[in-house]
Amino acid sequence: MKKDFKYVGKSTPRQDAFEKVTGQAKFTDDYYFPGMLHAVMVRTKSSHAKILNVDYTRLLASAENIIVCDHNDIIGSKKVGPIKKDQPIFCYDKIVTPGDVVCMLVGGDIQELLQSRELVDIDLEELPVLTEPLKALDIDSPIIHSENGNNLINHYPLRKGNVEKGFSESDHIIEQHYSTQLIEHAYLEPEAVIAIPLEGKKGIKILGSIQNPHTTRKVVASVLGLPLTKVRAVQAEIGGSFGGKDDTMNILAARAAVAALKTGKPVKIKFGREESIVESYKRHPYNLHYKVGFTKDGLLKAMKIDITADGGAYSSMSPFVTWRTVVQATGPYQVENVCTDVKAVYTNNPYTGAMRGFGSPQPIFAQESLMDEIADILGKSPLEIRELNGFKAGSITASGQKLVDHDINLITVLNEAAIKSEFDKKWQLHRKNKKIKNFQIEENNNFLLSHNEFVEPNETIQKGIGLAVSYRGCSLGAEGIDAAAAYMSVQQDGSVYLISGLAENGQGLKTTFSIIAAEVLGISPDHIQYLEQDTGIVPDSGPTVASRSTLMGGGAVKNAAEILKSRLKEIVLNFWNVKNTEEIIFTENEILLRGDETKRVSFQEICSLAYSKGVNLAVIGWYKGPNVHWDEETGQGSAYFTYVYGCQVAEVSVNVATGEVYIDKITAVHDAGKVINKLGALGQVYGGVTQGAGYALWEEISSFDGKIKEDNFDQYLIPTSRDIGEIEPHFIEGEDIYGAWGAKSLGEPTLELTAAAISNAIKNATGKRFFNLPINLEEVLLNRKLKPTDLKRGSTN
């Protein structure tokens, strides 16, 4: 049955837009509390060292107003982590990466605190530095965390069929190596948190730019040795997160809390951009090795995949991130025989964790490059090869899951994207038009050109088109327990409080959830007041990650609204003295009885009636995903209970003289399930594609012995308003049974495809294929990266 929606699927402006556009919205640093102190971090210049001694004599002698906090102030857990507890709040035995903090200076005058940092004398014994993830498991490599025994964070095998047999049945076998870079979330608001000690024995309140208040609460409570109820974590407006304001923020919250309890005063920690980039975790660099066998008709027979992810100095979310990789490493293609090994390892590099995409952009870059390459070998088009192998209803994934019970829209999104972008025609045309010569720079000794190596101005811009497809498991999957809560309470005047256990990260969750509640109750979304995220109000619903908020949180909100609706219906039945609840309609702030014009009552009236009758109109809604399971040994199982599908087409202009790539257009077709807020959904696509473009072409944190060069926006280049041409989103709306009316996920799919599509487009434009991200100026012309040999800034080289 097609439902007519009143609010769902329309464009609804954000709930918090007014405050944000007038400058009234309060981000963490905009709060000030009387007596508040500041805290600054003390770090070393080392990437790997033993801490022999920390001496505060000079500091204490000269700075009376400064209070020091270090590991000695911690009563509870000194080390924390979402999976393995390997990350210290304050380092005490070792430094394992330059972001590490030994102690923190607390006081009223930031300037004084900053200047006093050098008065802390830290005695170190330098240790050999490990920065190369592929060497992490060598026996002679330095061990980062001795309690772990070796540098392996986790290893996920996946075995399906028999790859050897598959290769022997193949007409062609190709092997390729790909690599992706370390990148930064680059949320515009750097980290900030305030810890406020509460009166008497009430514990502590955390107010901050935190992604998952419940996780923050858990970490802070464990560090302080307090019960969860003594820590209240409240979210301020959050200036972007993209997966990045989790572990780092939890640790900062814990540090601030330790200082607040020690001083009895509110303590604020606020990072500048440099500090943010140096200490916060990033997206994993991957090394990916693919061996693929296929028949002369293009049918995939076998894939052998070896992936190593650089987890950096701490394990953080690596086990979860790489788990998604092992599930999705073959891409949305049916392959009989698969043997995948995904490992995450420790190094002294900045640590890596959750970032929008979460273990998918890397394998997608590899597998979608490969699919084009296979098509090339067989003289097929990128569309043909994907249509042949792509998932259809009933296909079996690499983990042996049969795809049923949801809209398997891969081929639909592929075709839609191809039509909308006129893919085939353009692809053929650009491929034929190739008359470029002298593109690859031949590296001779003197770097001087011979006359036939120049490029004429009218040949310098070459156009190309390329595409990439993906499937993505929604929510946590077998990674974790998947359930979410929402609290809703209707007031006597018909206005409604709503809050979900999932947190706003800037993506517009409050608005989406309000629309869902409004749709069910037939009231306008602006009658709903979304509450500030507060662990004191609503049950833990797991993290806002994995693009799960609309699906899981939306499901919970719908559930809450439906419970309320049924209670209100009871009231209405009695009020009108009728029997059949089916005939009662909630719409436009009114309640009507189908077929009886005289029966019409305002939502407000019924609410006040309910109130006077003592009916409970405050409920907790709950949504739990269907069970999924996973066999750790074989990598087989039903990884996720539902999936989304997407296809992006990139059109680029490549300057073959300079290596510049300009993105003319991205056509993005996504099956996100039901779209709840059109405006929000479009925003997710524009933003995700733009981040994906940055990943493809510019962004990279390069480290020297673990130290970061690109520690501010002069060096770390994210796209500006002038860097991308057009972005054209299209949605394919399925009719799934999960979540709220089948609303699934969108945030991450929008980002994960872009780099692969761009790479394929550059190939179409130039005839050259790329294996390493980012495809920057040097990569385009030389097929390799050129790296400065020191940390000097500017363009002097």
Partner: protein, 157 residues
């Protein structure tokens, strides 16, 4: 050194006694509690701190208060007039130009400065006006649309 500085902020004459080498950004946020102006990089690269100084968009992280005596400054808090949103603000809301909102104040001020100079800018001019304002959330497109629509609305009325 501290000294008296007189300036006009959002249409009101103000006088403060303040350290001369304090950044305009910090004075706005700390002395005037105008916290709408944000800090994202401190080096002129992100535009979150953009305000309009004597009719031009500037980065308030790169200006010292001792350089501002006698100036007129407009911050995001000054766009709303008589309780009515500026057309730019309305369009930012309607076109989805705001996600996390951290870039929004600076973005709006750059757009506002553009409109002070040019009452009919095209798409390319809009892109140029906000090239110094990074946004990590929206991909710019809804922002450009919002400014474009505001231009149309303002010219139609």
């Amino acid at each position: 050194m501290k000294s008296d500085i007189e300036l006009n902020i959002n249409g009101t004459a103000k006088k403060i006694f303040v350290e001369q080498s304090k950044r305009l950004l910090d004075v706005l946020r700390e002395n005037f509690l105008l916290t709408g102006t944000k800090e994202g990089c401190s080096i002129g690269e992100c535009g979150a701190c953009t305000v309009v100084l004597d009719g031009e968009a500037v980065n308030s992280c790169l200006i010292l208060i001792g350089q501002c005596g006698g100036s007129e400054i407009i911050t995001i808090e000054g766009l709303e007039k008589d309780g009515k949103l500026h057309e730019l603000q309305k369009q930012f809301i309607d076109k989805g130009a705001i996600q996390c909102g951290f870039c929004t104040p600076g973005m709006a001020m750059s757009a506002y400065a553009l409109l002070l100079k040019n009452n009919n800018p095209g798409i390319e001019e809009i892109k140029e006006a906000i090239e110094g304002n990074l946004c990590r959330c929206t991909g710019y497109k809804p922002i450009i649309d919002a400014v474009h629509s505001a231009v149309k609305e303002l010219n139609d009325s």
